[in-house]
Symmetry: none
Amino acid sequence: MSTNQSAAPDVTRRSERSRRAIYEAALALVVEVGYPRTTIEGIASRAGVGKQTIYRWWPSKADVLLEAFLDMGEQAAQAAGQVPYTIPDTGDLAADLRLVLRATVDELRDPAFEAPSRALAAEGVVNEELGRRFVARLLEPQLQLYVDRLRAAQDTGDVRPEVDPRIALELFVSPLAQRWLQYTGPITYDYTDTLVDYALNGLAPR
Amino acid sequence: MSTNQSAAPDVTRRSERSRRAIYEAALALVVEVGYPRTTIEGIASRAGVGKQTIYRWWPSKADVLLEAFLDMGEQAAQAAGQVPYTIPDTGDLAADLRLVLRATVDELRDPAFEAPSRALAAEGVVNEELGRRFVARLLEPQLQLYVDRLRAAQDTGDVRPEVDPRIALELFVSPLAQRWLQYTGPITYDYTDTLVDYALNGLAPR
Amino acid sequence: MSTNQSAAPDVTRRSERSRRAIYEAALALVVEVGYPRTTIEGIASRAGVGKQTIYRWWPSKADVLLEAFLDMGEQAAQAAGQVPYTIPDTGDLAADLRLVLRATVDELRDPAFEAPSRALAAEGVVNEELGRRFVARLLEPQLQLYVDRLRAAQDTGDVRPEVDPRIALELFVSPLAQRWLQYTGPITYDYTDTLVDYALNGLAPR
Amino acid sequence: MSTNQSAAPDVTRRSERSRRAIYEAALALVVEVGYPRTTIEGIASRAGVGKQTIYRWWPSKADVLLEAFLDMGEQAAQAAGQVPYTIPDTGDLAADLRLVLRATVDELRDPAFEAPSRALAAEGVVNEELGRRFVARLLEPQLQLYVDRLRAAQDTGDVRPEVDPRIALELFVSPLAQRWLQYTGPITYDYTDTLVDYALNGLAPR
DNA sequence: TAATAATCGAGACGGTACGTCCGGTCTTTTC
DNA sequence: GAAAAGACCGGACGTACCGTCTCGATTATTA
């Protein structure tokens, strides 16, 4: 008699038009009014979509935003011609790291990026399950690039072989992350250059 | 967002009993049901207090919690006899840092501490004003202790004199912070010991 | 005072079940705890209904009660087989009027009728808009019956032809109304019989 | 230790200044914002008086207004030189009644009189205790004047001796009262003149 | 090509919490 | 000891969203 709400919906019939509209509405609202004032009803109304269409496909506001944000990244990547993303290896480790970190600094200042990623990070701090998903889908792939570059540096002898690259990368990345997340200090090229300087010394052979 | 503070209330007439009850209720609820399900109404009801008594003195749930958390810290400090808090200086910088970071690891695992500070951190990520207040009142005083200890280390020649201690401390502290905030990795004594090892190498004279 | 009626709700989708439950709850509460202590929240809770469902369809507590009361009248009328309501015409005007007024006396003493109609009358005294609606929907139809009967009496020569029946009826009805509304005197069959006696003399041909 | 709130306050120490200010504030507010939006806090604030000063001397908003209204009447009476109030007796009963009723029509239209007396009447409809007090203090004295005049008319043979004046007066007064209270019809000199005409016929000897 | 079935836009529904207002009590200080 | 001031607990106000639930109207297979 009644529709079984718990039965998984039929993905093949899903409206692509609605999905895109929801992504756009979610991202736009987070930028415009902030995450806490972004509501499911607001997203639905702005996307010209029924509320149920959101609840059918996502369990929460945060999940909508996470997918919207990932999609935005993929769109941007495709638009950019999308060389398989890596940290350059010019042979000069310090220079390579400085470059990547400077690029990250730029990204952290782009409002279209900042608003949703801050929202997701905040949600993740208090919601472990989502936090882990956020890390796995967004952060970890980025960090893996550092692991790769540092391993290459170990091969060339620029970094001590017994160093764990997964921990070592945090010396560069985490300070920047904390400054950004918690407003513990200004975020500048100078700052990230200094981080590379200090940290690399600790990793280099003695 | 904030209550109409028409004609600021008379602080001298404030009920100390209510203030304490509100702090306790807020902290208990955050631990028991989590921050998002902690409501002003819930705090008021648990504290046996009218809602207006909360709105009279605090502009938001986050502000209540911030003060409650600060108060908890002060209470704990007083109870502990309250040595003026510093990082020990045994002459062995690495050992001293390892000790403090291990203590921080312990603290991060105490639920009575973890729940409210996570909640405040999360709120701060998305609410810059509160974030800065959180840092100024809670984080920065802690970080200053590292600055002091590192400066002492510069005096004894254990750290290069041109190093900026405010940045250097982030090599130890931020990786731990990020792992905690974002679940990017396990938090253990081994891990913090390793951080001290890697980072100190970068700061030591060559 | 009234809810933001932005985009009037869709009447075809209205829940009949909720509407009935709200009527019953409103009437019951007015009888049980009195009008001033009858609250929208109380009605909603007793009816097992969200507050918004009340605010969506009625602008105020008084409007809920007015409709509930009208509905009660219609229900009662249907149950009673619903002879088209008129004042009897036995040829004896005095007897007919005495009968109707005695019936009104009975009605005014029925608590299920008294509580809500008193509440509505009181509200109407102080709120002209509602007062006029109360009169138009409830009182005026009753008064019209008197007009009809008095006109018939004019045809048979029992009442002077130049008398305005709309005013004449007030000689019978208003004294009773005022005694009821303002507790200015006891309400008995004797009293209404006396009214008919005094007033009819004034209307009869000299 | 604590002040006994239930002990009757010492009337000799009562502040006349506050009493007057409360009367004026209550009447002004009822005229300006209406009875339902007139609050004890509003009266206190406007009168420059503490809330407790009101609660000490009056049990409710309606009681404040009742006394304020009675006081207003007394003030007006004193100002008007105030011969002991009666209905004139020129020998022409109909003329005398027309005159008084026309004066009442004027009074009912004066906003300074209408707002508070409507408020009190409304409250009295739903609150029997106050209603009876309202009648005893305000209405009944007025009605007694009609009783007196009608008795005089019985002495001169203008009214049948077996007529009960307390009921007879309602033929003139109640229709006007109901029109005013319930907006059941326009209130004009013509109307009251007609009432006198119709009703007097019923009371006159046959 | 028509029947069938699921998604869709829309929005009413039972709820919960919001932030405000006011009722009536209590406490402090002033007169 | 009354009065001005106003904090306090309580509770209702009217609003905003939550997540669920119908309701036609598409829309896309399946018969």
